[in-house]
């Protein structure tokens, strides 16, 4: 009897050891899973586009870039927080500006479509405050160059003021305009009108009657602008 108990104890000991080993393996697996997820989130925190808007080759008046009498108008609906809008500014629009705006064939009109939350609205209002001082395009470029992750503080009040200093705005006047929300209703009206036209994402472009959503190949933009130019004015 006691012999068989001893034998049972001897066989139970390795089983207990195996169980402990498996439990340790499960605990290690849970720790590894947590570490992988934490690393992914941390890595994401450091990702972001460092591309910059190239220097302008033409000047703008208000929110219109180029000659106000240019026959074709390219309307761009954008959000300063939207990464694809930034890609349009860094990769696509410089070619449009060089080939069509600089040559007086087309002008670009920027319209506000803030859809990514609080900081999109604040940036839009700040850009309007810069427009009041005749520096919309300088501030527009500074905003896209300073773009960070969405609603992460890249366009906090302090950052918007710092950008105003950077482009040489009258800062007290800028702050006064920004804090008074004087342009808020105007931007809201613009968003409502755009929604009625079928805009629901950014960037959205209108070239004549053609609507282009997102950053499409330059060939598509050229075809649309050339078609608009070919139409009798």
């Amino acid at each position: 009897m006691s012999g068989s108990r001893k034998q049972g104890q001897r066989s139970a000991a390795p089983a207990r050891g195996a169980r402990r080993g498996r439990r340790a393996a499960i605990a290690a697996m849970v720790i590894v899973a947590a570490a992988v997820v934490a690393s992914l989130i941390a890595l994401q925190a450091f990702s972001g586009s460092s591309a910059k808007v190239p220097p302008r080759v033409v000047t703008g008046e208000g929110r219109v870039l180029g000659d106000a009498k240019a026959p074709v108008t390219i309307i761009e609906y954008a959000d300063f927080q939207c990464p694809v809008c930034k890609r349009a500014e860094t990769d696509l629009l410089p070619s449009v500006e060089k080939d069509y705006v600089q040559t007086g064939k087309a002008k670009i009109e920027f319209r506000m479509f803030p859809i990514i939350g609080r900081e999109s609205w604040d940036a839009a209002q700040a850009a309007e405050a810069a427009r009041d001082q005749g520096k919309f395009w300088q501030y527009h470029d500074a905003l896209f160059n300073a773009q960070g992750r969405e609603n992460s503080g890249a366009f906090s009040y302090d950052e918007l003021v710092a950008l105003a200093k950077q482009v040489g705005l009258d800062v007290p006047k800028f702050e006064q305009t920004l804090s008074s929300n004087v342009h808020l209703a105007e931007i809201q009206r613009e968003v409502d009108a755009a929604s009625k036209e079928g805009v629901n994402s950014t960037p959205t472009f209108f070239i004549g009657t053609k609507m282009i959503v997102g950053v499409q190949p330059y060939s598509e933009f050229r075809a649309a602008i050339d078609a608009a130019l070919a139409k009798p004015q």
């Binding site: 590894v32 899973a33 994401q44 990702s47 694809v84 939350g117 992750r149």
Partner: protein, 163 residues
């Protein structure tokens, strides 16, 4: 595989086929979003939410790698482990799939939080994938619980494979 432990029939009959089907569905969604990302094509999106905004966000990448591609890797890994567990009746492969499902679910919760509270936009494909991965975690958890004796090495059956 040494130390391989046989899975009970219940896990094999119910949990593994269900988990395989869910992994396959998840692989389909993640592959579609990855292809669209690299082809720079617009996402075929329903009227709900704003897929384009979510998938073009800086939160849709980890470094230079799109989150959708990470999804493909996770789903395919789970599918392979589930298939292995199914064919070899191996509890440890089931446990490994559960580990990936655990990490994937946690990351999905974080991404859903970003959609709702940071981007204020919903992507139906992302919501579908988050739901699939949560269901997958639940099913695999049930499978692991059903096979807890085998997983912990206390099960009756210890085989060299098959079963």
């Amino acid at each position: 595989m040494s130390g391989q432990t046989a899975l009970p029939g219940r896990a094999v009959r119910v949990a593994l086929p269900l988990a395989a089907a869910l992994s396959l569905a998840g692989t389909g969604i993640a592959t579609y979003l990855t292809v669209v990302h690299y082809a720079h094509q617009p996402i075929a999106c329903s009227a709900i939410g704003n897929c384009e905004l979510v998938n073009s966000s800086e939160y849709a990448k980890v470094g230079a790698v799109p989150v959708a591609l990470l999804g493909v890797v996770a789903y395919v890994s789970m599918l392979a482990l589930i298939a292995g567990a199914w064919l070899r009746r191996d509890a440890m492969l089931l446990l490994a799939a559960w580990g990936i499902a655990l990490g994937s679910s946690a990351f999905s919760i974080y991404l859903t939080y970003i959609e709702l509270r940071v981007l204020y936009a919903i992507c139906v494909y992302c919501v579908a994938s988050a739901s699939i991965v949560t269901a997958l975690f639940a099913v695999l958890s049930a499978g692991v619980w059903g096979a807890r004796d085998e997983v912990l090495g206390g099960g009756a059956a210890t085989t060299g494979g098959g079963g």
